[in-house]
């Protein structure tokens, strides 16, 4: 009697068979095997067998409903059809879609994206922290909204795995897609040296990851190590320092950005960083990184110095993932090789643009050319004549409030730099080769001059 009352009071529970997923519901019992409705799990005899797969009670666990998996907006079984497939939904991917839709409303477009495909301006990531921005405030339009607006079927959280150009087939983690034209806008991935383990080092190359780091840094001022004093490393160092964090910038070279800048310019940059509180640790190589118990990380240099920080950011450059190119036997050197006029890759019907391509043996990871590349690709994949993409190396601009830097032209490593003008706040230099000025460099702010009219780097 009392047992019955307890049973009536305690809610019915469910148990799931670990083997076959059958759910035993106490309320329903299992009359076929002699368990009356209302039989509590603990009252089931030990030799009772799962009615579906025959295992015993010991193989059942309490059933806890999992939160529904986030469904992709793509149908589980993409229809086998024709159309344009775009891999990647960063600036380049969306630029191509916009350019196609500007002239062609009807051609089916499918976008394959490893994330949520939200539209944001990637260069903003390197100054967003000091502006108090968050991942959500950086989003200009959600991927889903843009897909609706542009009539695109969006396969989010989907990775392209393999390519068969002869079959015009792209294999993805949600099944194979056929295409009439394929546009690769897959971007580049951070290249992480072996001594910087991915589980301990942040890389700022997409909005989601930046957002994760931002959430942690927003809690309080922290110690941040930035490894690599190239463009991204220098910009992040300034941004993080302005946001109140204690930044140590590591590089193999004795001066920051010295792959790009002549010594007088690089020295000014180092001094400017110092004014913001950035410690520059130059001429060092990281030997190893270790997680300390309290969430802190220890960096050790080969020369025996060690620095303890809360976060490590690796800004050690980018590399194009060669998986798709390799599986589709596309010509590849440092990126997917494309025709400099048409941006066609080496297989019929395949185009590529943005950070993933290599044009005449070099990558060009800047924002400025993307719109022009997208326009050319959009013309070709919709069968319209195009005059040809004209590749030119855009001016390099370091996003810095304290010391804006702009480098234009085609500097080379062994060229001779001349100082054209120099004062406390401004330095103008030119690199001369064969009797002509091949490159021009402006460091700092000169009065009555506006030098910054070109695009930002990606």
């Amino acid at each position: 009697m009392s047992a019955t009352m307890e049973s009536a009071v305690e809610p019915w529970r469910q148990y799931i068979c670990r083997v076959c997923g059958l759910i035993y519901d106490e309320e329903l019992g299992d009359p076929d095997s002699g368990l009356a409705p209302g039989t509590r799990f603990e009252d089931i005899p030990d030799d009772w067998e799962c009615p579906l797969c025959g295992v015993t009670k010991a193989d059942f666990d309490p059933y806890v409903k999992r939160a529904a998996a986030q469904a992709s907006s793509a149908p589980a079984n993409p229809p086998r059809g024709v159309g344009i497939v775009v891999v990647g939904a960063g600036l380049a991917g969306w630029a191509v879609v916009e350019a196609i839709r500007a002239a062609d409303a009807g051609t089916p477009i499918t976008m394959v994206c490893g994330g949520k495909a939200d539209l944001y301006n990637k260069p903003e990531l390197s100054l967003a922290l000091s502006r108090g921005l968050t991942a959500s405030s950086l989003v200009r339009e959600s991927g889903a909204a843009a897909a609706r607006r542009l009539g695109v079927r969006l396969c989010e959280d989907t990775f392209a795995i393999g390519l068969a150009p002869a079959l015009r087939q792209l294999r993805t983690t949600r099944g194979a897609l056929l295409y009439t034209h394929l546009v690769l806008a897959q971007g580049a991935r951070p290249a992480l040296p072996a001594e910087l383990p991915s589980a301990l080092c942040w890389r700022i190359n997409d909005l989601a990851t930046w957002g994760s780091l931002q959430e942690r840094l927003a809690q309080r001022p922290q110690r941040v190590a930035i490894v690599g004093a190239g463009m991204i490393g220098c910009e992040l160092a300034e941004d993080f320092a302005r946001a109140g964090h204690r930044v140590t910038l590591f590089d193999r070279q004795t001066l920051p950005l010295s792959g790009l800048l002549p010594e007088p310019a690089a020295k000014r940059l180092k001094q400017s960083h110092a004014k913001l509180g950035v410690d520059y640790l130059g001429g060092v190589e990281i030997a190893r990184v270790e997680a300390l118990g309290d969430g802190a990380k220890l960096l050790e240099t080969r020369c025996g110095r060690s620095v303890t920080v809360d976060h490590i950011v690796a800004a050690t450059g980018l590399a194009t993932d060669h998986r798709l190119a390799r599986s589709g036997a596309l010509a590849f050197d440092c990126g997917i090789k494309v025709d400099p006029l048409t941006l066609a890759a080496s297989a019929p019907g395949v185009y590529a643009l943005g950070d993933c391509v290599s044009i005449e043996g070099a990558t060009c990871r800047f924002v400025e050319p993307i719109a022009r590349q997208a326009d050319a690709v959009a013309h070709h994949v919709t069968g319209r004549w195009h005059e040809g993409y004209r590749h030119s190396r855009p001016a390099v601009r370091l996003k810095s409030k304290i010391l804006p830097i702009e480098l234009s032209g085609a500097p080379c490593a062994d060229g001779e730099w001349r100082i054209i003008r120099e004062d406390d706040s401004f330095l103008h230099m030119e690199q001369w080769r064969d009797g002509t000025a091949a490159a021009s460099l402006r460091v700092g702010t000169a009065k009555a001059a506006s030098f910054f009219k070109h695009g930002a780097h990606a």
Binding site: C53, A58, R80, F159, I161, G162, A176, S198, R203, T209
Partner: protein, 378 residues
């Protein structure tokens, strides 16, 4: 390591590729093709398996027999082309051979030749562990350390190619006295009368695979039965070859489906031309797939992430194409393919099996997704 114990054997066992191909083909297209409907309904073809073993179908991938994964896949392809269930048994036998050899345990490698020649048979109870290690479901067997070995408890469902006098690989999570799991062990279970195999519910096809549930109650695992302790490094090493060998089942079923389509072309070509997935289209996709697999067979123990992804990609593609090919063969043959004894309707169930057997298409994509994501600090 993969050639370390090859020296235990002389090359006298190495199959002659041409003779092996001819003999396996003869068996597959003759007695096996005739028996396929009965095997589908429940006949466990150990006699045919014995002939295939004697012909060298189960040994080429083993280090001691020349480490020719291409030949092993060819044999599996040929068998599966006639009978998917026997193709699956071939895979079970092949993978169990890998366990015995790669264990490096002299008590187990001593059994390799009989196994490889099809004089003894054994399967692989690794469906649950493979899913467990990928985080898809919990590990079902639990082991406790005792003097001289472990005591294993739990139930392993749906293990194929086992029976009296046979054996299979299995894995268990080792639990301490506090119930915490320290690591996993992998071992061989011998069905020598100590374990009563329990019947499984009937499947819709491929019933001749001798599939049972294994209840283990304080089952003792000693040193002689140990395949790997700890098991994870071993699993990491054999994972790619384990999956790669399954591709032979898929390509065989696809080729069989194409055979069925072509069989009726003279009579039905004038209407079949209105169908999608025509034999030439499926053949082109099969050729592309086998071309990719041909590049993978040279280095099954590559160990790299890219290689593993290529293998998983090929296996997933094999499953997807098998489904389409089988469905198309059914449509090409129409009513004659729908007959109870006809190959096309049987092959649809074989293709579905390939799509769902561990690792299923969804598991393969789950794993590819995981491998594609960049790790970030937590």
């Amino acid at each position: 390591m993969n050639s370390a114990h090859a020296t235990n054997f002389s090359t006298e066992f190495w199959p002659d590729p041409a003779a092996m191909r001819a003999e396996v083909s003869h068996i597959a297209r003759g007695v096996l093709a005739g028996a396929a409907p009965q095997i589908d309904e429940g006949r466990y073809p150990l006699d045919i398996m014995g002939s295939l073993g004697a012909a060298g179908a189960f040994s080429p991938h083993l280090d001691a027999f020349g480490a020719r994964f291409d030949l092993a896949l060819e044999a599996m392809h040929e068998v599966s082309r006639s009978c998917g269930a026997t193709g699956f048994l071939t895979w079970c036998q092949d993978v169990c051979g890998l366990y015995l050899e790669q264990s490096g345990n002299p008590a187990l490698t001593a059994r390799l030749v009989d196994h490889a020649m099809g004089r003894r048979f054994g399967g692989t109870g690794l469906s649950n562990p493979v899913k467990a290690l990928a985080g898809i479901e919990p590990m079902l067997l639990r082991a406790r350390k005792v003097k001289g070995g472990y005591l294993v408890n739990g139930s392993l469902p749906w293990v194929s190619h086992i029976g009296a006098g046979q054996y299979c690989g299995a894995m268990a999570a080792v639990e301490g006295d506090d119930g915490k799991r320290s690591h996993e062990i992998m071992f061989l279970i011998d069905f020598d009368g100590c374990i009563e195999l329990k019947p499984c519910p009937e499947f819709s096809g491929m019933e001749g695979t001798s599939t049972w549930r294994i209840p283990l109650s304080d089952y003792f695992v000693g040193e002689d039965a140990m395949i790997a302790d700890p098991a994870r490094p071993f699993i990491a090493r054999i994972r790619a070859p384990f999956i790669l060998l399954q591709v032979g089942m898929a390509t065989g079923v696809i080729a069989g489906a194409i055979d069925s389509m072509r069989d009726v072309e003279p009579a039905l070509g004038h209407v079949n031309c209105f169908l999608q997935d025509r034999p030439d289209e499926i053949q082109a996709e099969l050729d592309e797939l086998t071309g990719r697999v041909a590049k993978l067979v040279a280095a099954p123990y590559d160990g790299g992430k890219d290689y593993l992804m290529d293998v998983i990609d090929a296996r997933a593609q094999g499953g997807e194409l098998a489904l389409r090919a089988a469905q198309s063969a059914m449509l090409h043959q129409g009513a004659r393919g729908y007959l109870r004894s006809a190959a096309p309707q049987r092959r649809m169930r074989e293709a579905q099996f390939i799509a769902i057997v561990t690792p299923a298409i969804k598991h393969l994509r789950f794993e590819l997704d995981r491998l594609m994501r960049e790790e970030t600090p937590q």
